[in-house]
């Protein structure tokens, strides 16, 4: 029986909310404080580069929970409030409004923030992490059909935005320093095919080159009104852009933990139970925990991991003492194409075609290491992927959904 009477969750995104929901679902009746630094009710991020940016969903549609269900959580949900300081000795969090909240268990679920280009090149540049970011970019793209958008970074976010922006009528150039981006995430074949898909949809994908400089008259007060920028690449190419999106990855939000004694190293370093220190836990994008199957610390920026790890933390707070050993899963959508990956696709893994044809619109690839299935990639093969995910879970002797004795 757990003696926890007060849980403070810092971060009201998918991971933080998952902790809260799972705690209540497991019958936790103590105090629950949820700090969210944005003003909006908790919302989901994957739609920000897709339905929200496209304008096919209102912002309310991306909410993680309807308002009445948030009320049933009986949480002290403080929006527009971030954590400023942590005192692990006193078991207290100082909130940005100056108030102090005590905890028996603290969950760090602060997520990540976009990396930026050097300041001289990023004035007026867009990033896409929050609802406000998405609406700002949407406003610019929808107001100026045919706008010239330069996206820095051919990762999943940059390319998803490229697809959405093309549909909104923008001219899109993607600039990527790597010669072969996404190979480490998708394997060589699917990575190349994804770039080809974008090229066939009219996106100019420039790989092996980086931003040399961005000049112009950016309006930093109203970034959506900026431009034209003059973009100069290291390859020597020069072109004009009406807007610049920087999508070069994210870094964990850890500043407020300085001086707290919590170990941070590209994330909050946790053991296999997602515990960072006595009575301190971490979940979601910000957590770097010891994956017992891999026997190394990893950090996953996957939507599914936010939910699963949040749940695992909730159960462990209540005393489950269960290592968190998920088989990762993520998806990414581009035009009509859905790519899904489960497990790990380590460099050097042997890749086999398991279903369909590599030249067709649908296929599944399996990835093998030392004769063991370690990863699966589905290209427009969602239904098949479920079967492969099940196989992968038994192959790795792991469950992606922690077991529970939950009763409503």
């Amino acid at each position: 029986v757990s003696s926890v009477q007060s849980v403070v969750i810092v971060g009201a995104g998918a991971a933080g909310l998952s902790v809260a929901q799972s705690l209540r679902g497991e019958g936790y009746v103590g105090r629950l404080t949820l700090l969210g630094d944005e003003a909006e009710l908790p919302y989901d991020r994957p739609p920000l580069s897709k339905q929200i940016l496209a304008g096919s969903w209102d912002p309310e549609r991306a909410r993680l929970l309807p308002e009445d269900r948030i009320r049933t959580l009986q949480a002290d949900l403080r929006l527009g409030a971030s954590a400023a300081e942590l005192d692990t000795g006193a078991h207290e969090v100082t909130v940005s409004d100056g108030s102090v909240v005590g905890y028996d268990a603290l969950v760090v679920a602060t997520g990540i923030q976009p990396r930026q280009l050097p300041r001289e090149n990023s004035a007026g540049a867009h990033v896409l992490r929050t609802m406000a970011d998405s609406l700002r970019l949407r406003s610019m793209l929808s107001r100026s059909p045919g706008a010239r958008l330069v996206i820095v970074g051919a990762g999943f976010l940059g390319l998803e935005v490229a697809a959405t922006a093309r549909r909104l009528g923008a001219e899109v150039v993607v600039v990527e320093p790597l010669e072969r981006p996404l190979e480490n995430r998708l394997g060589a074949f699917a990575a190349a095919r994804l770039l080809a898909l974008h090229q066939s949809n009219g996106v100019r994908v420039l790989t092996g080159t980086a931003i040399e400089s961005v000049t112009g008259h950016p309006n930093t007060v109203q970034p959506e009104c900026d431009g034209p920028h003059l973009v100069r690449l290291t390859s020597g190419a020069v072109f004009e852009a009406d807007a610049l999106l920087v999508a070069i990855g994210c870094s964990p939000r850890l500043d407020w933990l300085a001086g707290s004694g919590i170990t941070v190293s590209d994330g909050v370093v946790c053991d296999e139970f997602c515990k960072a220190a006595a009575d301190v836990w971490a979940a979601g994008d910000v957590a770097r925990w010891l994956h017992p199957g891999l026997d190394k610390h990893i950090r996953l920026e996957h939507r599914t991991n936010a939910t699963e790890q949040g749940r695992a933390v909730a159960l462990n707070i209540l005393g489950a003492q269960r290592p968190f050993r998920p088989v990762p899963f993520f998806w990414t959508d581009h035009y009509e194409t859905k790519i899904q990956v489960s497990g790990f696709l380590p460099a050097g893994a042997k890749c086999e075609l398991a279903e369909g044809s590599l030249t067709a619109d649908s296929f599944v690839q399996t990835f093998w290491q030392a004769g063991i299935l370690v990863g699966v990639l589905g290209w427009n093969a969602a239904r098949s992927m479920t079967k492969f995910r099940r196989t992968l879970m038994s192959a790795q002797d792991a469950t992606s959904v922690p077991e529970t004795n939950e009763r409503s």
Binding site: S22, R61, F329, W331, K338
Partner: protein
């Protein structure tokens, strides 16, 4: 026949075809050809309600709800 006191509702338009619900509750959910969630038992009997609840929790797009009926 077992009585059911819960009802499963979904928002299929928000489904991202992860199949997580099928992995958690194969007797309650399935997927169409595009991988989109289909409910097999809108009023799951008591012995399936735990796995249905797991599916609700596991869904990465939060499109599944269990309501008391």
């Amino acid at each position: 026949m077992e009585a059911s006191n819960v009802r499963v509702t979904i928002d299929a338009d928000k489904c991202i075809a992860s199949g997580s619900c099928v992995l958690a509750a194969p007797e309650v959910f399935t997927q169409d050809d595009d991988g989109i969630v289909v409910v097999l038992q809108e009023a799951p009997p008591a012995h399936l309600q735990d796995q249905a609840r797991q599916a609700m929790r596991a869904c990465p797009a939060a499109v599944i709800w269990l309501e008391d009926s």
